[in-house]
């Protein structure tokens, strides 16, 4: 093997503290190195030309570049090798910038270190093999998990792009959090008026299969060929028959059923359609509240249903969907404010969450859009809004900013004034965060046109006082204590990861942060990708987002999928594991530790042998570490390559 070594100056970045010429000189002494030189900018056009020329002149069949981190230019140089007619994998990099010249001043020590890093790169390269990416076909269907605004956008864009779409939603209707909102900032236009039509489009688009009241049970397979089991929970209503007329709800006797959709302000019936614009507009029964399902008597709905759709015997069913990509848009949940003792820990009826307040504001809400105190139904005059409840607070494990609370609080003060002209809103805030188009102007309007009083400071206690509430806090701008008496307190509760997010992440094999939000592929450059090929993120499941950003991400994720599906075949990374059959004794230890189920046990001349499913293997090498006799090896990270590096560094 003829190896060429190129030691980069990177201007003065490396040359400044490393004697690159000396490193090149040392490299000439390494096994199989036939050419070594230092070069000003290896990645520049002339630099790459130099490499190509050397490959030709010295009949190199392997190249080592000592420069910056491989994360920076590995692909650049692999392409250079291809242009020179070599296999792109006959290449190794020695990181002598980030790991040497930038972290040490001692030129002698740096030079020695750089020379050794080049040496281990050479030792590794000596045992590299030419690799070629394999190809596999893809199933051009996409599954979208979560029917909130992000999921809806993604679904519509994919469907318009001609893809078959499967949309899975946990609740009986799509719409997500947005469908619960009354108005949206900063335009104060009606939430359901802008979301409603999109929801209808979903139901009418022939390319979209909708599974509501459904959850993902398990996910197998890999990019291009996922196999997803979906649990369709029993609605106790045959939706193929149900016309959504609502007769059943009208007659249902158990009227005290807690109303999930209305955030438990007000009640609903055991059988119901969550809200007027629900998609699909189908009734479903809450088994915990239904007299028939709990006590075995009633059946009022059966009597009135003109379609005869009620089916108390209905059971969960598992449907299997085969898709090539998955977009996760499972959204967020609201922080449980009862953790805050000083806000009454949930003991005071008129201390409510911002989402509950939205329902009070909403014309389709439990109060037909009249703001009434939950305790006595009176119209509140003085309303205190407290921001950052469950945001930016280390003490309760929520150090992050939920991003949208400042804006929706301002919106709610404006709506409050519209509903009750003689009302007064007070807002306790820490900082105002309104970095969006028209956002800060909107906050100003709330303050200046609608007279919301903004007080910079935290609230120390909420105490009932003669049917009202005394809110004690501090005004950090005035530097004194404030006390406000109010009829209603609205807590701007922050966003937290959707319930069950970690469990879903494990099924999908994607990673999540310590708060349960899903990890994007790269914080800047891969905002909607995950580290698992073929799985994308949209909306608040990746971190709190307002509607515009969620919609944008939904679209972005869709375009990623369309891009992925624009090819008929996908290339698989060839740096994967492979089995030496005669060494394999079929003990299946590799199979048991593979995180991706990429190893299957097969029969070979009557013996059990492990074999790697090339398209599933992600190249982590866990199997290689687990195989006692080293029968399964991860190419380009084989035992011998790593041993060669160790032996080079520690020659006894």
């Amino acid at each position: 093997m003829n190896i060429g070594v190129f030691v980069c100056h990177c201007g003065s970045n490396i040359e400044g503290t490393v004697d690159t010429a000396a490193v090149a000189k040392a490299a000439m002494g390494y096994p199989e190195v036939v050419f070594a030189t230092d070069t000003m900018y290896a990645c520049s056009e002339p630099g790459q030309a130099g490499i190509i020329e050397a490959v030709r002149n010295y009949e190199l069949d392997g190249v080592v570049v000592a420069s910056c981190t491989p994360r920076m230019h590995e692909t650049t140089f692999r392409r250079t090798l291809e242009r020179a007619g070599l296999n792109r994998y006959m290449f190794e990099m020695a990181n002598i910038r980030e790991h040497v010249s930038w972290i040490g001043k001692d030129r002698a020590a740096n030079t020695n270190k750089a020379a050794e890093l080049v040496m281990i790169a050479v030792e590794k390269l000596r045992q590299n093999t030419e690799l070629t990416a394999g190809e596999f076909s893809i199933n051009k269907r996409v599954m979208i998990i979560g029917g909130g605004v992000a999921g809806i956008q993604a679904a519509l864009d994919c469907a318009d792009g001609g893809l078959e779409v499967v949309l899975v939603e946990r609740e009986p209707s799509i719409g997500g959090k947005m469908s619960k909102l009354d108005k949206t900032f900063p335009t104060v236009d009606c939430s359901s008026c802008i979301l409603g039509p999109r929801m209808v489009d979903i139901s009418q688009n022939p390319n979209i299969t909708l599974h509501t009241l459904s959850e993902v049970e398990s996910v197998d397979g890999f990019v291009g060929n996922f196999n997803v089991k979906v649990r369709r929970k029993a609605a106790y209503v045959d939706w193929t028959l149900c016309t959504g007329c609502g007769e059943c709800a009208a007659k249902c006797p158990s009227k005290k059923t807690p109303d999930r959709f209305n955030e438990f302000v007000g009640t609903t019936t055991a059988i119901n359609i969550p809200f007027p614009q629900a998609i699909p507009k189908k009734a479903s029964i809450n088994p915990a509240a239904c007299l028939m399902l709990t006590k075995g008597k009633c059946g009022a709905c059966v009597k009135v249903c003109p379609a005869g759709a009620i089916q108390f015997t209905q059971e969960d069913e598992i449907v299997t969907e085969e898709v090539g990509a998955i977009i996760v848009a499972t959204g967020y949940d609201l922080f449980d404010f009862t953790k805050y003792g000083e806000y009454g820990g949930g003991r005071y009826p008129d201390v409510i969450t911002s989402m509950q307040y939205e329902r009070l504001l909403s014309a389709s809400g439990p109060t037909e859009g009249h703001i009434k105190r939950p305790s006595d139904g009176k119209e509140p005059k003085d309303i205190v809004f407290i921001q950052c409840v469950g945001s930016r607070d280390k003490s309760i494990g929520r150090p992050y900013c939920s991003g949208f609370c400042c804006m929706y609080t301002a919106k709610q003060t404006i709506l409050t004034k519209d509903h009750i002209p003689d009302s007064q809103s007070y807002v306790f805030y820490m900082d105002i965060r309104s970095p969006g188009k028209g956002y800060d102007e909107f906050i100003r309007r709330a303050m200046e046109e609608y007279g919301a009083r903004y007080i910079r400071g935290r609230v120390s206690a909420i105490q009932p006082k003669g049917g009202r509430y005394l809110i004690k806090g501090v005004n950090t701008l005035m530097g004194d204590q404030v006390e406000i008496e109010a009829d209603l307190v609205v807590l701007a509760v922050g966003a937290e990861a959707s319930k069950g997010a970690p469990e879903l992440a494990e099924k999908l094999r994607i990673s999540y942060d310590s708060y349960g939000f899903y990890m994007e592929g790269h914080p800047k450059l891969k905002p909607v990708e995950t580290n698992t090929a073929g799985i994308y993120l949209a909306g608040s499941c990746q971190g709190p987002k307002d509607i515009p950003s969620s919609v944008a991400q939904g679209g972005a994720a869709a375009s990623k999928v369309l891009g992925l599906f624009s090819k008929d075949k996908l290339a698989s990374d060839p740096q994967i594991s492979s089995v030496t059959l005669q060494r394999c004794i079929g003990c299946a230890k590799c199979q048991s530790v593979c995180p991706f189920g990429a190893i299957e046990m097969t029969e070979f001349r009557g013996m059990t042998k492990a074999s790697v499913i090339a398209t599933v293997c992600q190249g982590c090498g866990n199997c290689t570490s687990a195989c006692p006799q080293g029968a399964i090896q991860l190419s380009h990270f084989t035992d011998n390559q790593i041993l060669a590096e160790v032996n080079a560094l520690c020659p006894y």
Binding site: G341, E342, A461, Q463, P464, G466
Partner: protein, 298 residues
């Protein structure tokens, strides 16, 4: 219940303004089988003034008491006064820092381990004796009495130092009082400040803060307020007239120490309970509850 032998730190007020708290506490502990041994030659904990000016000074004042207690072969140190408790525990907390620990020992000129458990009498009551035990002891439950429990602001704060009960909505007193037949009303101002340390310097503040507590108690429909803190008790009881004057209110709310009520419920009367030491007389209220406790008058 295991043997409990405690070093007892009465605190200054126990010698003066809250004699009845001290005596009823001792009586209560005796009945419940705690062995209290006064820390010999104990000194003032420094209360609020000391730590306001110098942490080392305030810590050293406390540490001397800890040191003495450490020679006593006891299970821990207990005190009825939350203010003393705060100083004792804060000092112990601060002395977790080796440098500070060393400094304090230098000042004292002796070794202080500062590792004895330090608890309020209330905490010991709940944790060692237990609510059931107290319920058993109450032979003459104070049925019909309606009270609000007032814990004051420092009993459970700061939580990571005090490590007892909920800082925002404590329940220890509520549970004990309920156990002895008293009706405990929900009370949002449980942990508000009464203005304690400003008692002499800023009466207006006390009038406002303590006044609010009295108003809220009355509004809640309470016959009386129950405290576990000499300073709270003093402000609400001794200064009640002042406060009424300042706020134009007309409260006549007896302010009990919980220890007094436990003893009453246990059928104990007389000197040790010191009901006669309360400024707002509780006797008419108690007699209205029926003959048994009414005899308290005698």
């Amino acid at each position: 219940m295991t043997r409990s032998r405690y070093a007892y730190y009465p605190g200054c007020s126990g010698q003066g303004t809250s004699r009845e708290y001290d005596s009823s506490t001792r009586a209560m502990c005796q009945d419940l089988g705690f062995e209290l041994i006064d820390i010999p030659d104990w000194n003032c904990c420094g209360s609020t003034p000391a730590h306001a000016v110098d942490h080392l000074l305030s810590a050293s004042l406390v540490a001397r008491n800890l040191a003495i207690a450490e020679d006593m072969d006891v299970d821990g140190i207990i005190t009825p006064c939350p203010s003393c408790l705060k100083n004792l525990k804060t000092t112990q907390h601060r002395m977790l820092r080796p440098e500070f620990h060393a400094e304090v020992q230098k000042v004292l000129g002796r070794v202080v381990r500062a590792d004895l458990p330090i608890k309020s009498v209330l905490q010991v009551l709940v944790e060692d004796a237990g609510i059931e035990r107290i319920a058993q002891e109450s032979t003459a439950p104070l049925t019909g009495l309606k009270v609000v429990p007032y814990y004051g602001c420092i009993m459970n704060r700061p939580p990571d130092v005090m490590r007892f009960d909920d800082p925002e909505n404590p329940m220890a007193l509520d549970n004990i009082l309920t156990a002895i037949g008293i009706e405990v009303l929900p009370f949002a101002l449980k942990t508000d400040c009464c203005g304690a340390s400003l008692g002499t310097t800023r009466r207006d503040v006390v009038a406002r803060l303590s006044g609010r507590v009295l108003d809220a108690a009355a509004a809640a429909g309470a016959d009386a307020i129950v405290t576990a803190c000499p300073l709270c008790q003093m402000n609400l009881d001794m200064r009640q007239a002042q406060i009424n004057k300042a706020n134009g209110s007309h409260h006549r709310l007896p302010v009990f120490y919980y220890s007094q009520l436990i003893m009453l419920a246990a059928g104990q009367l007389g000197e040790r309970i010191g009901l006669d030491k309360l400024c707002v007389s509780p006797f008419s209220l108690l007699s209205s509850l029926g003959s048994q406790t009414g005899e308290a008058r005698s």
